[in-house]
Point group: C2
Chain length 149, copies 2
């Protein structure tokens, strides 16, 4: 697979109709908490990222967000959320622990804080245009959207 | 995690706010080519499935579709599709080969045929309501939607 000259620009085919090796893509990213788009499905984006440490608490009022862990162990603390059916987060706080091969969907409007004691490689799935640090003012961790790898 | 009494019904939380082990879910499915929903993100569904052999050629005119391979080697033959940027499928036929940790997005309107020489376990992502065998009349492989595991 040939790479575009500018790795930050969207390729002509939006990453479709081709095999995408997720870990290989992540290994081309410098730094943690730097999501990069690898493909689009309708108006959704697949983003790969490696993370370590604590991310700020944030919320996306208008969309659910999906995390698929490829390597490592990710924790997602959630609070103030809708009841997930088990009563664990009906206004309280809970922690979702995800290991390789596991995924979780964080509902819209639920405050969450991803963290990783050791490096985690993962796939994020969410609509195009979602800001990584959530609603409100940008912060130190806010990353520009639509950067491809 | 407690399982619903009827494994085919959608759980109250739509599979959200919890860790989902994809292979463990697949191991609870009987038979090949039997996709089962594990979670929803907005109006999209995450479906797990194990497959072996050849699936019929089909097309989804209105939506892209995503395949993420968890175990095994999946082939997706595509034809008559839009140019993916590399010129390989501008009206011709091509085969996408996916191994564990790899994904592909098949664009709307592109005829495709998944196949697997040996068993493959994978995750499908697509809007709620997409028929597995595509547009047109149902066939022997058509499976009812909204069956959860």
């Amino acid at each position: 697979m040939s790479m575009p000259l500018n790795p930050a620009a969207a390729p002509a085919g939006r990453g479709q109709s081709q095999a995408i090796d997720l870990i290989r893509k992540i290994d081309r990213i410098d730094g943690h908490w730097q999501p990069r788009v690898v493909a689009e499905m309708n108006d959704y984006q697949f983003k790969v990222v490696k993370v370590q440490g604590e991310f700020p608490w944030h919320v996306h009022a208008d969309t659910d967000e999906t995390f698929v862990v490829l390597e490592g162990e990710l924790k997602i603390a959630i609070r103030g959320g809708a009841d997930a059916g088990d009563g664990e987060c009906a206004g309280g706080e809970a922690v979702i622990v995800l290991r390789a091969g596991q995924m979780a969907v964080v509902p819209r409007g639920v405050e969450h804080q991803p963290s990783a004691d050791a490096e985690v490689k993962m796939l994020l799935i969410e609509p195009r245009g979602v800001v990584n640090t959530g609603d409100g003012a940008p912060g130190a961790r806010t990353v520009a959207n639509d950067q491809w790898v």
